[in-house]
Assembly symmetry: C2
């Protein structure tokens, strides 16, 4: 039996509505996966997370292998039990964190040596070990170790990273030993379309359960990102799930769905939420602003999230002003619901065969908000001191 | 119609089971009120709070008058709407915080000048103003301004504070103008029983809707506290609610119920929870300890709180180890449920006419845990740096 079924394909773009089948249940696509960094979506209980409409979450292998360690998670009964989440989980390979969080990284074809950002310990990871760890964590979907390149990267660097990513994918495929799990490979190649073609075609030969597009949302901008995504999705099997890693803003997501992407993950709803930044259909709201002091309206009219059904902007602003934990929690809940509603609207528009018209309108609207939205990527570099990671 | 009804009185001690009737609903007593310092029980949503079995909460007038200010709360529609809590609320008068949090306090018979602990602003509060603020916050039960004395205090100091508390109670009674609210007076007098007698008898003459015992749980110890409580409850009207402020540990609560107390509030479940300290029937658990690293058991076997139904000690320890917000939230939830279950057991033992036997056993057990329990009072002074307020 296949683990993915395309239920409907839009006639005028590459968007599709599908069903992803995992050991812990079925997930309708296109789907957004909130990020549960260290075994929790920050500050949000699994019960609250389900109430946002979340069906699948991502957990970071890198964070979990450092703390509490795979032995602990395995002894407790695997990641689902450890996190108290009984629906599907995807674990990333750790690659992105190794290359972005670690100050000292030595990489060769065999593997990568990096320094723990917690205690400075030197840790060695190769593709086999990354898979073995993920086999033991026992998420429903696991990822091959890949090499992410910084932006900009010269062609030699990019090419080397692509070759290594392909080599590691072969090792991963061989090492994978947990039949409860789907194994996805990651296409690298920066914004070089030829390298993307090469990487995708080599990986497709290896016959994975799904394919991810990595190395984007690192500062290349919306247009470059969508260009690479549009190019890459066409190289991937029609009948398998496609996952765009670490993306993105509402505009990024809508455009990538048009290009044929099925799965997304991003810290934006929660990271922005913790920083009093709320997503709305009318653009972003900054809840710390004085404008909200006496505002008895919810963050978003007619939103059915727990925050909007119960709390005024005034109260939320007050919570941030006092350092009360409920502030970050409530805005995270709203943002997660906002993203899940967006995905539900995308799926509905696809089912109703109205996606092209719908997405044109929505894309235009959300693109106009984008410059102020990316607390997580471009903006983060400039405002690190003001932002809680 | 009376606002309080004694449904059952124990035959061999002063404990009673009652019903407190407020504008926002009825509350069975003895009852425990979690503390919603600045408009929220820290980190806990109203929905989660209800699931712990909480029927009534306390909010701090002092904190709310400083931030966001009574104008804001009133404009949003009152405290219930502001906090998104549709069940009963009690606001304290601010007296305790003024005398404990403010570095500079000038007090005379007219009122008290204090320094905001937030921005150093000088603020003047008299009894009438304290009532007017509480009238506008619109909680269900409000408190007269009182003067708390530090421990130890000499007799002259204590006597002065008692006279002032009585005088302010008269002013409060006169100023009270919101008929939706019950007004309680506070008996002061430290551990001087004669002063407690004097204060109680003067306040009782003024005919309040209920009476609180203040100025305890400030370091006098369990035995002194219960001596004062036992003495004071006998001076208060049989048919009105009695509220022991800021108390306490499970042993304090059980002993005070035996002495005839109906209402309690305390930060212990939440403050201790935020510091990885869990209450259990078998004594305290410190969740940061290495002993819990691979422990797949819940905090407390058979506990029906959200935390125990879903999370292992291992995961909770991991959350504290990582600084993940869910750690403080989950242990706060467990502790709140623990306190609410204790109160439910007290009420059940009273209804079943088994309270004397039950309380003897329980008191003995919980008294043995007490020395390590008071993160909030005695211990707090020594370990302030280690403890999140």
């Amino acid at each position: 039996m296949s683990n993915f079924e395309v239920l409907y394909k839009d006639s005028s773009c590459s968007a599709r509505h599908g069903l992803l089948i995992t050991t812990h249940g079925k997930v309708e696509t296109p789907v957004f996966m909130p990020v549960g960094t260290a075994g929790a979506v920050k500050g949000i209980t699994p019960q609250q997370l389900k109430e946002t409409g979340t069906d699948i979450i991502l957990a970071n292998t890198y964070h979990l292998m450092l703390r509490p360690g795979v032995d602990v998670v395995e002894k407790i009964g695997g990641l689902h039990k450890f996190m108290a989440w009984d629906q599907p989980i995807l674990t990333d390979s750790g690659g992105y964190q190794i290359f972005s969080l670690s100050p000292l990284t030595k990489v060769d074809d065999a593997g990568v040596e990096f320094t723990s950002h917690i205690d400075g310990a030197k840790i060695y990871l190769d593709a086999e070990t990354a898979i073995k760890i993920q086999n033991r964590l026992n998420a429903d979907i696991i990822m091959c170790l890949d090499q992410c390149t910084p932006l900009p990267a010269d062609e030699k660097q990019l090419k080397e990273a692509v070759e290594r990513t392909i080599h590691w994918a072969k090792c991963s495929k061989k090492a994978h030993a947990n039949t409860n799990q789907l194994l996805f490979a990651i296409v690298q190649g920066g914004i070089n379309l030829q390298l993307r073609t090469y990487c995708a075609s080599e990986l497709v030969k290896l016959d994975f359960d799904g394919y991810a597009i990595g190395g984007l949302s690192v500062g290349e901008g919306h247009d470059n990102m969508i260009k690479v995504v549009t190019h890459t999705t066409q190289l991937l099997p029609e009948n398998l799930p496609r996952y765009l890693m670490g993306v993105g803003t509402p505009a990024d997501i809508i455009a990538a769905v048009r290009a044929g992407v099925d799965m997304f993950d991003c810290v934006l709803p929660t990271r922005n939420g913790r920083n009093a930044f709320a997503f709305t259909e009318n653009g972003p709201l900054r809840l710390r602003n004085n404008a909200h002091i006496e505002d008895d309206r919810p963050i978003e009219k007619d939103c059915n999230c727990y925050c909007c059904k119960n709390f005024s902007r005034s109260t939320i602003r007050h919570f941030f002003n006092c350092g009360e934990m409920l502030g970050p929690i409530l805005v995270s809940l709203h943002n997660l619901r906002f993203f899940q509603k967006l995905m539900a609207e995308i799926r509905l528009a696809l089912k109703k065969k109205e996606f092209t018209v719908w997405s044109n309108e929505q894309l235009k609207k959300y693109q106009s908000f984008d410059p102020s939205t990316r607390l997580g990527s471009g903006l983060l570099k400039n405002n690190l001191s003001k932002i809680t990671k």
